[in-house]
């Protein structure tokens, strides 16, 4: 990893813009009332374009911004998970997985599963087994079957996160197709 390259001025700007993209796409999807979040498109994009460390920092800071903006104060509790999503995006990209759509979707699915596994304890132990969102209905359903808080949050996560991250990775794959090669070289952290 070339530190100076990965955190060059142009990449710092890219990370800030990526966070703004997270927020813009996330709120757009909320208004479209889709059963997805799509709030880490920017994070994954940075991971893919620049590298795992830049992706991780983008994910982490994105959650700081969600909190500081007042849009979603609880976001900071998930900053670690967001960082790992960004890092995984970078790792998959370096392994060449974001070049074909089906590999990108698979990378997204795997990232989603990891995100679900890491998020469940936070929801279960920090937030009392809820997230305050509409997905709590899914959690309630699992609780009604007799499962405990941790399992129910994990089950809910496994229902929504892999799909959401697969869609995210697919969107980034599509963007990479449309991005001129000179941009990819400009941002690359290698």
């Amino acid at each position: 990893m070339n530190f100076r390259k990965e955190f060059s001025t142009v990449n710092l700007v890219l990370m800030a813009v990526a966070i703004a993209i997270n927020i813009a796409v996330g709120t757009l999807v909320l208004n479209l009332k889709l059963p997805l979040y799509l709030d880490s498109v920017g994070t994954v994009l940075v991971g893919v374009l620049v590298g795992p460390w830049a992706g991780a920092i983008t994910g982490f800071l994105a959650n700081v911004v969600w909190t500081l903006s007042g849009l979603f104060p609880q976001a900071i509790a998930w900053a670690g998970v967001a960082a790992i999503i960004g890092a995984l995006a970078g790792v998959f990209a370096r392994a060449g997985w974001v070049q074909q759509w089906w590999k990108a979707a698979l990378a997204g699915l795997i990232t989603g599963v990891v995100a679900a596994i890491l998020s469940a304890p936070i929801a279960a132990y920090v937030f009392g087994g809820v997230t305050g969102g509409g997905t709590d209905a899914v959690v309630a359903a699992f609780r009604s079957f007799g499962f405990d808080a941790l399992f129910s949050n994990l089950a809910q996560g496994t229902v929504s996160d892999p799909l959401d991250k697969a869609a995210t990775f697919l969107i980034v794959w599509a963007i990479m197709l449309g991005l001129p090669q000179r941009f990819k070289a400009r941002f690359s952290g290698e």
Binding site: V13, M15, K33, L36, P73, V130, S144, A149, I171, F183
Partner: protein, 260 residues
């Protein structure tokens, strides 16, 4: 610098306090949220410590409004989910074979009270602190400038991006896109909406970066800040006291784990 945050300027002692002092206060409330044993303590801390601070800042009503907006989904979910599914003996409401118990409801509301302290304190922090002042204070303590740049810039530009996304959405609607259509179609229609937004932003990035580098952004060495933060011995003492209080609370909480 205009950023889009909760910040509301007032001429209050809390607003004028050093950002790290306010951060320490937030830390104290977070620790109280974790360490206090039951809901009476938690609500007392909220009413006797947090609300007076909000009043001192001249922001009591905005604070209550913001706290309500953030907390009510949690209160609802926690009351229902923990009410029905947490262990408990005394039934309150019965629906089919499920019963909401008083104990379950109480444990749910206790978690909600903890979140009230934790999230409320962050709301209070944001209401009384300009983000650039907060970032400057952190930078002075050693946080890398690149990180504060990213946070502040993102805060500054994201409203524009939200507007652009909304314009794209509305222009698609004007072309006859039905939002109420089934969700697979909505997803397929999402990409052509999202792609121009993102590709356009990436082109933007290069221009911004050039403007920054023309201003010696990446130049090594300390930079003079236009903002100045006021600090004094009393606040430093207060911060030290707050840190000690947090430590004491943590010790008390951990100690209670070992007391039967």
């Amino acid at each position: 610098m205009t950023t889009s945050t909760l910040f509301q300027p007032r001429a209050s002692r809390l607003h004028a306090a050093h950002p790290l002092t306010k951060l320490a206060l937030t830390g104290l409330f977070l620790t109280l949220g974790v360490a206090l044993p039951d809901i009476r303590w938690l609500l007392a801390a909220f009413a006797l410590l947090m609300l007076p601070l909000a009043a001192l800042a001249g922001l009591l009503l905005p604070f209550l409004r913001a706290a309500f907006t953030v907390l009510w989904p949690f209160v609802l979910s926690l009351s229902l989910i923990q009410g029905f599914f947490s262990p408990g003996d005394t039934p309150l409401i019965e629906i089919g074979r499920f019963a909401m118990t008083t104990e379950g409801l109480l444990s749910g509301l206790t978690v909600a009270a903890r979140l009230l302290l934790a999230l409320g304190s962050t709301l209070l922090l944001m209401l009384t602190t300009r983000p650039d002042n907060l970032m400057l204070a952190l930078r002075q303590k050693g946080l890398p400038e690149s990180l504060t740049y990213i946070v502040l810039t993102a805060l500054q530009i994201f409203p524009r991006f939200q507007d652009r996304a909304r314009v794209i959405l509305e222009s698609q609607q004007a072309r006859g896109l039905e939002i109420e259509v089934n969700f697979l179609r909505r997803i397929r229609l999402l990409v052509p909406m999202v792609a121009p937004l993102i590709l356009g932003s990436i082109v933007d990035v290069e221009e911004r970066a050039m403007a920054l580098e023309a201003r010696a952004f990446n130049h090594p060495g300390a930079k003079t800040s236009w903002l100045e933060l006021e600090d004094d011995a009393r606040q430093r003492l207060l911060r030290a006291a707050l840190l000690l209080a947090m430590l004491a609370l943590i010790v008390w909480r951990v100690g209670r784990l070992f007391v039967p």
